[in-house]
Amino acid sequence: MASIAPQKDPTAPAPVLGPGQTYTTVTQKLSSIITSRTPLGWIVALLIAGSILQLLMLSATWLLIKGVGIWGLNIPVGWGWAIINFVWWIGIGHAGTLISAILLLMRQQWRNSINRFAEAMTIFAVMCAGMFPLLHTGRPWLAAYWLLPYPNTMSVWPQFRSPLIWDVFAVGTYFTVSLIFWYLGLIPDFATLRDKAKHKISQIIYGMLSMGWRGSAKHWYNYEMAALLLAGVSTPLVLSVHSIVSFDFSTGIVPGWHATIFPPYFVAGAVYAGFAMVLTLGLPIRYFYGLHDYITDRHLNNMGKVMLATGLIVAYGYGLEQFYAWYSASPYESYMIQNRMFGPYNLQYWLLILCNVTVPQLLWIKRVRLSPVGLFVVAMFINLGMWLERFMIVVTSLHRDFMPSSWDMFHSTPWDWGLYAGTIGFFLFMMILFIRVMPVINIFEIRQLVPHKEKDTEEAAASADD
C-alpha cells in the first residue's frame, strides 16, 4: 500500500502528513508559529488589513449618523447589499462547519490539518454576516425587541411565523455552537501552548484557557464523545442555517425567489463559497509558514474536488431556475429569467455564469487541483461568483416585479462599497490576529496522524486512506 513517498505510486492517494514526522516535530513546528518571534510579514499584513478595517468604522459611523439613505436602496429594491453581503458571509462560514463536523463523522482524516482555521474562518465570517442585518436596521440599539423574545414594556413579541425571526435563532445558534466547537478543539492545544510558552504572562493566559487540561485518559474519553456529539448536532445545524436563510427568499412570492430548489441550492452554494475562502486563506498561510507537510497535495486535491462537486450542484440550481420559468407557465417567472439574461443586469448574470460555472470546470484537470496558484485563481473567481449570485437573486428579482409602473434600477453608492470592503478588512484582521495567538493547525489531531512506530508506518498510511 501507500509508503512514505506514495506520489510515485499513481494508484495510492497522497499522504495526509508529510514524511518523517514525529510527535516532537509536530508539536515543535506547530507551536513555534506562536512561540517564535513575530515575523515582519505578519506585521505588514496586519497593518494592511487594519487599514481596510478603518473603512468599516467610517462607513458604519456615517450610516448610524445619516441612516440607510446613504445606501443605494430604493423601492422596489428594498433589500440591497446588506442582504447580499449577509448571505455571502454566512455561506462562507459553512465550509468550516462542514470540515469540522461532517468530515469528522465521515472519518475523513485529511480534515485534521485544515479544520482549525476553517472553524476560525466560520466564526469571523458569521461576525461579518451579523453586522449587516443589525446595521441595516439603521438603529441597531433598538433592534433588541425586534429580534429577541423578551418581556418588554410595550408587551410586543417577535412574530415566530416569519423566516426573518427564524434567521435570528439560526444564525445566533450557529455562531454560538461554532464558538463552542472551536473552543473545545482548542483546549488540548492551549495546554500544549501553556507548556511551550516562554513568557510568564502567556503561560498564565494559555493556562487559564486550557482549564488545567492534563491529557488524562479519562479526560480524553469524555472529550472525544463530546466532540463526536457536537459534530452530530452541528451537521443538521449547518444544513438548517442556510436553508433558513433561503426561506427568507423562498417564502416570498417574488418571481425568482419562490422556488423549492432554494434550500439545497443555497446550502451547496454555501459550501462552494466556503471552500473557496478556505483556499483563499489557507494557501497563503501554507506558503508563508511552510506548512507543506501538514497541508499536503492530498488536501488541495480533495478541496478542489469538493468545490467541483458543489459547483455542479449550484450550476444545476441555475439550470432549474430556467426550467421553473418555463414549466410554471407564469409570465412573471419567464420574464424574470429573460430579464436576468438579457435585461439591464445581463453583464452581472453572464459574469456569474463565467465565475461559478465555466471557470470551475478547470477543476476536472488534476494539474489544476494540485497547483496552489491554479486553485487560488479558481477560488477567487468563485468568491466573486458567489457574491454575484446573491446580487442576481436579490436585485434582478426585485427591480422589475409584477407592475411595470413600479420598476426601477438599483445603483450602489460608495457607502455600500465601503461597508462591504470594511467587513473584508475586519475578517482578514481577525484571521491574522488568530494565526499569531492560537495554533492555526490542530496540534493534537495531527499527532493522531503520526504513525506509532516505524513498523506501523505502512499500516497507518493504509488506514489514513479509509
Binding site: 514525529t22 510527535y23 516532537t24 508539536t27 423574545p149 408587551s155 410586543v156 413579541w157 412574530q159 415566530f160 411565523r161 425571526i165 427564524w166 435563532f169 439560526a170 445566533g172 445558534t173 455552537v177 463552542i180 473552543y183 473545545l184 488540548p188 495546554a191 500544549t192 501553556r194 507548556d195 511551550k196 493556562g207 487559564m208 482549564m211 488545567g212 487540561w213 492534563r214 491529557g215 488524562s216 485518559a217 479519562k218 479526560h219 480524553w220 474519553y221 469524555n222 472529550y223 472525544e224 464523545m225 463530546a226 466532540a227 456529539l229 457536537l230 448536532v233 443538521p236 445545524l237 438548517s240 433558513i244 426561506f247 493534537f444 489531531e445 499527532r447 493522531q448 506509532h452 512506530k453
Partner: protein, 179 residues
C-alpha cells in the same frame, strides 16, 4: 524514600501510545485500580484498559436537547397563543409547522452547551492545580510524553513494590509525584 501518605503517587513515562496501553493493561491485571494515564492525544483503548468505560456525556446531551426543544416550543406557544395572539390570514394561533425551525435551533443550542459543560464537569475541569504537574518532565504530556500514574490511594500501592512493578513494565523513568 518518602512515606506512602506523603506521596500522591508514582508517575512512569513510556515510549509511545502502544507501550502505554500495554502498561495500563498490565497494571490493571496486577490489581491496581486508582490510576490514570496521560497522553498528548486520545489513545485508542487507553481508558478502557484502565477500567474506565462509563460514558455519561451522551445522556447529559440528550437531556439538554430535550430541555432546549421544550423551551423553544414552549416559548413560541406562550408568545403566539397565550400572550400575543396575532391573526395572520386566518391561520390557527398554534401554527406548529412554522414553529419547527426555532424549536430545532434551541434544541441544538442547548445540546452544544450540554456537550461542552458536561465534558468539563465530568472531567473535573477547570482545575488549575493537580499534583502530577509537580513532576518537571510532565509538561511533555502535552507534547510527546506518555505517562502512567499509580496513585498512593490505591490499596495495593507500596512505594518500593510499585516502583519495581512499573520499572518491570519497561518504563523509561519513574518519578515520585508530590501531593
Amino acid at each position: 524514600m518518602a512515606e506512602n501518605n506523603s506521596l500522591y503517587g508514582l508517575l512512569a513515562e513510556f515510549d509511545g501510545p502502544d507501550e502505554l496501553v500495554a502498561a495500563a493493561k498490565g497494571s490493571y491485571a496486577a490489581g491496581y485500580r486508582k490510576m490514570d494515564a496521560f497522553s498528548p492525544m486520545p489513545v485508542h483503548d487507553l481508558s478502557e484498559s484502565l477500567g474506565y468505560d462509563k460514558q455519561r456525556v451522551p445522556i447529559i446531551v440528550l437531556i439538554c436537547a430535550m430541555i432546549g426543544v421544550a423551551t423553544g416550543f414552549g416559548l413560541q406557544y406562550f408568545v403566539a397563543v397565550v400572550d400575543y395572539p396575532l391573526n395572520v390570514g386566518g391561520r390557527p394561533f398554534l401554527s406548529w409547522p412554522s414553529f419547527i425551525p426555532v424549536t430545532f435551533e434551541l434544541g441544538v443550542l442547548f445540546s452544544a452547551f450540554g456537550a461542552l459543560i458536561g465534558m468539563l464537569l465530568l472531567n473535573g475541569l477547570p482545575r488549575p492545580y493537580h499534583p502530577v504537574f509537580n513532576v518537571p518532565n510532565f509538561e511533555r504530556a502535552s507534547g510527546d510524553g506518555f505517562f502512567l500514574c499509580i496513585e498512593a490511594e490505591d490499596p495495593k500501592f507500596d512505594v518500593s513494590e510499585t516502583r519495581a512493578f512499573l520499572e518491570g513494565l519497561e518504563a523509561k523513568k519513574v518519578d515520585d509525584v508530590e501531593p
